[in-house]
Amino acid sequence: MWVWFFKLGSPKWFYELSGKWLPWLVAAMVIFMTIGLVWGLLFLPPDYQQGFTSRILIVHVAVAGTSLAFFPLMFVAGTITLVWRMKLADMVAKNAAILGAWFSFITLATGSLWGSVMWGTWWEWTDSRLVSMLFQLFLLLGVISLRSALEDSDAAAKACALLSIVGCINVVIIKYSVEWWNTLHQVSSPVTTDTSSPNGPEFWIATLIMIVAVYLFLTVSLILSTRNEILERERKAQWVKDLVLKAK
């Protein structure tokens, strides 16, 4: 177990292994994404209440659900960085923060586009999901800006790891406190966030496919950028030099 664990920590090993996996992951991503999108756009029957806007929802829900994975991911990576000093964990964490900010932003944007239909407004402070997602975005941007502010890459790795751990705990606290706070405002709110909307089973299958597709996309994108990070940081290693010479 430990042998495997530390082997995975070796950038070279990861680079080679991920190189083997990538084609399969990409293929799976393309298949799921195509099915999801085509089904979503062409075949999904209109919801009797929400009409064709339920097409928005399959994208929104998939992205929103996936974006909740980032802080836990960074928590784990941060712990590995601090405890086992594994460089690979930091390379993943660095790109996860950036990708996570993208995901949060797209969640907010698609949510707003949906809200502008359902609620007639693009933004609503009385919805706790919106507010806590906004603050998740802020926390991620905080991690990114700390990384860019710190000059020494080794110190930046550890500092960001620590901040991610503290931030992850905070995301949870923020989520619950915002939810609580919000239930107190529900009464006077013009908006009711009815999560149990009457969508058919077809909707949920399409959503499920999209969720798988988006998770695959997350994995592929993260692997691609981590591989870049490996090339940059290991540029003095002989295997990278050989690799560069081989590349056209």
Binding site: L37, L42, G51, R55, I56, L113, L224
Partner: protein
């Protein structure tokens, strides 16, 4: 299978039952988002390799220069 398509004309498809802007904006955003986060890393890889190559030739030059000075 084709009868399961929800639209009878392209115009209807574009209109999405009156919510065309929102639906297409979401799908467009999503497409851009996915594309950017796949294409940027790929392009960056090219750039890194190009840079590393240049670096290696430059290092070799400095090396040989230093060697000739040493003599």
């Amino acid at each position: 299978m084709l009868d399961a398509i929800q639209f009878s004309s392209f115009a209807e498809f574009v209109d999405m039952g009156g919510y065309g802007f929102n639906v297409w904006a979401v799908y467009g955003l999503f497409a851009v988002f996915v594309a950017i986060n796949l294409i940027l890393p790929l392009r960056k890889k090219q750039k890194i390799i190009r840079q590393l190559k240049r670096r290696m030739t430059l290092d070799a030059e400095i090396q040989s220069e230093d060697d000739s000075h040493g003599d």
